[in-house]
Symmetry: none
Subunit: 271 residues, 2 copies
């Protein structure tokens, strides 16, 4: 992007490369300003815009991205992270293991390559706040893309015990089996809404995004000394984090994951 005479306008021209954030809805997504700032700081003529596509339309829309020659790739987020896997021409081993991708890149020949950076972004965010992971026990709620990715990245980062909780147990049974297959030394259990007995408690669901959501776990059982972490970015302080703070737990905001993901994603998208 070049700066035209009005210093407040970043000029988008016919040469600017287009990036997207593929979500539904898109109103809550946080990545575009950060990615666009990275692009500008790296001197890249590229811009990220929201691509709001409903699940039923995802397949046909993604097919059309193959022919959009000005398009270089997209961040993929809720609710498309799982569905995108089978729509890519190629996916990374991490994305395949997790069963979800959160980025896709368009090659000049139109092929779409999916990858999964959620988990590594989350773990890097914890590390950046000096929250140890290796050797710790973790309670993780959720069975969606974020929870899957975080589980694999935590296992890779050396946690010793992982308790998985979710309202639908079937989904975490599948996750538990995949984790045991990939990390035989990891102690994996299926838990309840009770998070007691863990160093790190993580909400990997979207519960807390809306004011009327139930809590993802029984917050009355949180204990001092726990660290309670979120993947939700908006609101910054979810009801879970509020309860954790009142209990005297350390809290870890969803945005730390984003900070690390952004650099990882920018790299993947060719910025």
């Amino acid at each position: 992007m070049s700066i035209i005479e009005d210093p407040k306008i970043v000029e988008i021209t016919g040469r600017t490369r287009v990036l997207g954030i593929l979500a539904h809805p898109t109103e809550h997504v946080k990545a575009p300003p950060g990615i666009n700032r990275i692009a500008m700081m790296r001197g890249r003529d590229a811009v990220m815009v929201p691509l709001n596509v409903a699940p039923a339309d995802l397949e046909s829309f993604v097919a059309s991205l193959r022919v959009l020659k000005s398009f270089d790739g997209a961040i993929v987020t809720v609710p498309h992270k799982q569905a995108i896997i089978r729509l890519c021409d190629e996916v990374s081993p991490q994305a395949l293991a997790v069963g979800a991708a959160n980025v896709l890149r368009r090659k000049p020949d139109g092929r779409l390559i999916g990858d999964q950076l959620d988990g590594i972004g989350f773990v890097e965010g914890l590390g950046d706040q000096d929250i140890a992971v290796s050797g710790r026990s973790v309670y993780l709620v959720g069975a969606g893309g974020a929870a899957n990715a975080i589980a694999f990245a935590l296992a890779e980062a050396g946690i010793t015990r992982l308790t998985l909780a979710n309202r639908t147990v079937e989904k975490i049974e599948t996750l538990a089996a995949k984790l045991k297959g990939a990390y035989p030394a990891l102690d994996v259990a299926i838990g309840t809404a009770d998070p007691r007995g863990h160093d790190l408690v993580i909400n990997g669901t979207t519960l807390g995004m809306n004011a009327t959501d139930p809590l993802p776990l029984d917050a009355s059982l949180l204990e001092q000394g726990m660290t309670v972490a979120e993947v939700i970015m908006e609101p910054e302080i979810t009801p879970l984090l509020q309860a954790a703070r009142e209990t005297g737990c350390r809290i870890h905001l969803g945005r730390h994951m984003l900070d690390h993901q952004l650099q990882l994603m920018a790299n993947f998208l060719g910025l």
Copy 2:
């Protein structure tokens, strides 16, 4: 778009509406900076990006725009102006008559509406310079998209007599027939290179863009009291306008059309 702390960055968020310029290639297109500036000046959270799609892929790509809920519309330019007509769910009478559209708008239900603003932009440009159109007689050279669009817009604006001239007579016979069908009261004639007897003389061809081009009409027959208008923007003073000025005619520059088109397109795209 809101301005974040770095005053050189216009912030694109998940709420920003996406506009496109649909072309192939896109490297040469001029509209995005102007449209994005209008959006910012009007306080609209929208951004135009290049959509480079080859003709063979146009149909499938345009179908995908119906499901892109963050998309509000696009400018359509070379080589898609004619092909886009049958891919829209609805086109304006003006676009249908001309056989080409240069804008499309996406309704919230996904329907795509095509329109043709070239001619209206030209007529508004005349009005802005206090050049009367209603009740006047016009001599128009050309049979391409611009000439077609201008002919229909002039008819709509109430001219009483129109003489069409072109080196290939077949094309203007088709245009004349379409005009007579749509505007039965309009006196339409097929003319020669002789522009005498008209209030307004318009070059709707590209002749004059290159220094070696022949004149589009017999400039020795121009008369004082005529207004001579161009669609060519570069050079600003074509040989035709130079001859007209020397004869004592009023002249009207091609850039007036573009100035009005951008505003009209911005309006049509909901800015």
